[in-house]
Symmetry: C2
Subunit: 482 residues, 2 copies
Amino acid sequence: MNTPLYRQLAEHYLSAIQSGTLRPGERMPSVRRLMQQHEVSLSTALQLCRWLEAQGWLEARPRSGYFIRTPRRLTVLAPAAEPATVRQIDPAQYVGIHEKVSAIIAKGQRKVSVNLARATGAPELYPHQQLRQLATSLLRQHPTLLTKAISPGGNPELRAALAKRALDVGISTAASEVVITHGCIEALNLALRAVAHPGDVIAVESPTFYGLLQVLESLGLKALEIPTSPHTGISIEALELAMQTYPNIKAVVVVPHLQNPLGSIMPDSHKQRLLHLCEQHQIPLIEDDSYSALTNGDKIPTAIKHWDKTGNVIYCASLHKIIAPGLRIGWMLAGRWQARVSMFKYAQTRYNEELSQRMMASFLQSTHYERHMRRLRQHLQQQRDKMAEAVAAYFPPETRLSMPDGGVSLWVEMPPECSSQAVFDAALERDILISPGLLYSNSNRFDHFLRINCGAPYSDKLDDAMRTLGHIIANQQKRRAA
Amino acid sequence: MNTPLYRQLAEHYLSAIQSGTLRPGERMPSVRRLMQQHEVSLSTALQLCRWLEAQGWLEARPRSGYFIRTPRRLTVLAPAAEPATVRQIDPAQYVGIHEKVSAIIAKGQRKVSVNLARATGAPELYPHQQLRQLATSLLRQHPTLLTKAISPGGNPELRAALAKRALDVGISTAASEVVITHGCIEALNLALRAVAHPGDVIAVESPTFYGLLQVLESLGLKALEIPTSPHTGISIEALELAMQTYPNIKAVVVVPHLQNPLGSIMPDSHKQRLLHLCEQHQIPLIEDDSYSALTNGDKIPTAIKHWDKTGNVIYCASLHKIIAPGLRIGWMLAGRWQARVSMFKYAQTRYNEELSQRMMASFLQSTHYERHMRRLRQHLQQQRDKMAEAVAAYFPPETRLSMPDGGVSLWVEMPPECSSQAVFDAALERDILISPGLLYSNSNRFDHFLRINCGAPYSDKLDDAMRTLGHIIANQQKRRAA
Ligand SMILES: Cc1ncc(COP(=O)(O)O)c(C=O)c1O
Ligand SMILES: Cc1ncc(COP(=O)(O)O)c(C=O)c1O
């Protein structure tokens, strides 16, 4: 059977779109122009356009004609699968995640054209202008701010401002309980050092962000990876089983909201069950809440700490991803371990610099904060949508993806033949940095996953990068299948 | 025998001086005025003044008359004693230095009128104006400096500038070897974590700064205190003996230049012996060089790292005390442990904030740096002299003190009856904060010592505080002796 003429022409335009010659947002040649150029009838030219439109590659705009777009094929992609909660839990062991991560970081240190490995938004999405103004005016008001010894205990105004922000997630606390840290990562270090000793086992989500796995390894702790749903977070059943099997679990660490990398959000009922389970087994619960303020809509989810009546929850958070990725301001509420954590903080790094602390205090107290957060959430939502569309358009159809309810990244499951290390290497050759799934577990379980940053506004450059990634993955799939 | 009239009058003026009614630097009433006021002869008035002058309380200035001063009685004070190197070395043990330090820090958190507990200079002695200008111009040049994700590995310009500074202390290194840290304290944490495990024994100077004792305790390491000379630093003989006695020493930590609190500077020959001893026993040597740039004169002492050919020395330093006490920029060269330390740094706190790093890079590269250091050294020398004179004038005659060859503090040995804790408490009641000797050892060996900050320009307020301290100590001495 011969391919009809309109389809031949349509394929021609499709390959122009897929190669980037025609870009999303650009105008498609008019019907009149198509008729002239290819010497075809009006009906053929119209059929051509309607077919591309039906496939999702064109969009008709009233009185303006057709425009190129990437098809919204999300519904075509299968959502992420639930983990098997009955699978054998990996024996906790040292596996050298440090070396894996450092190899990846070292490779990624060269300047790349598109960095999709970050876990923050683009610099322009944050209030750089207000922060700059705050910095200059603080320096004017306090001429010796940079040369005066930092007063102990953390800046009181910042601690008060953070105690107030804690109300947003349902936590009522005193400023004096707030410990300021160098990012959430230092908070996690302090929390773990407070409750566990080298050789102890720590239950974590699987997959989980490699930063946590590194912290555990660097502290001589063993990660016990608990199956985690891309939709509802850590499996309470699997965790309960683990607690019965491993008597030496000394803490549970979870990211209940917009888990990195899954994007999952635990339902409130799960959070309460988790809290009670930990209390019952007298195992401290470390809650990493770095991302909750990036949840879609204006209602930030409630922290597990909200229900904590015994001080068994250590709450860790950060302003790094929500206000200023150039600053290292994290914070924590350490419950029963408050004194121990405060002293570790002092012995480890002393206090954060005054200027940054005061900038954050002023910003949090200003009306800019709420406005910024609302805008940031909206931008990120648009950007995630665009990136997801690109995944749907350019990645092989076997790709699986669930849309998270917020945050800065997508967790993409490639066809099972693909290796994230190989995709990482091939992408880097094309000047694109991605975050390979192999970093998110001490096992190889997630080696066919990628975490893709959605922090930057969608652009031709990003579109090119996503198309290139799609090619790389498809090639891998073919080669491995062969 | 009757006290002659001139002596009676002299005692009257002396008590006015000692009570602060007449202050150093003020003019003494003229001879003519004394004659009128006390209705005495010219010769009596002259005798009065000459006697006070002979005692060191007055200074004759040509054509201006007599001025009050505090007597330069330093030669009267015995210098610090050498430690007994053959004494029994304390069994390494947990003694709760954390609790001691936190109790002291907690008490000292209230606002005091005179803070003599610091280990930095006054804010005005540092280049606040240049730093402010640098900050503002960096923010102007790089509008998103505060909101851009920090690039991994530390700012390249700062690393290069520090590699260049390392030449000042005789170390030739590459920028890529420099690890930027949150102050020297983080460098020490990383160094110790790299070479030792909980339960290991670390040899340290005795006395040593409490920050180090806290780090050891917080990491589960045991401090083995080695007798240390106030003049030449750690006793190599005692250390050698310790190495033979304790097979599980996993590192030696020394502050070879302007040791905190002693102020001692190791002779080069000692440094080389120490280096070889450590190499021979295959024990890593951690060199804390926080203060060397504050040594009198323009020749900074040579770092032990200079002679290190095997990478066995981990060099730790900081800009906190020499350029900007409001910033937390430290750095280190980790020798054989470079990779391990870099990864620990990443896992512990990620990287320092970009703005601070760039400020320091620009400042170090500017001509301001050398000029600032020269001025700072001169100011500190004057201030130490003034404070030492005050100790000589106001503290009991049994007080011992050796003048350090630089730095920001004096290590004062009170009469043996005194307790630094009691002096701390009494001083705090009078709104004066001092650093009690009990913090500088896990034993009680230094409880009759105080570390006194000399960071601020001498003033009436400081003079009052020193006089008050002198009273407190004298009272203690009397009460305890009774
Ligand atoms: C879940 C989670 N926790 C903590 C961190 C580290 O946060 P910070 O940059 O505030 O140290 C990250 C960063 O990627 C993260 O994803
Ligand atoms: C000898 C010594 N090392 C390290 C430190 C800590 O230095 P930084 O403030 O750079 O962390 C101090 C501070 O008192 C010190 O005296």
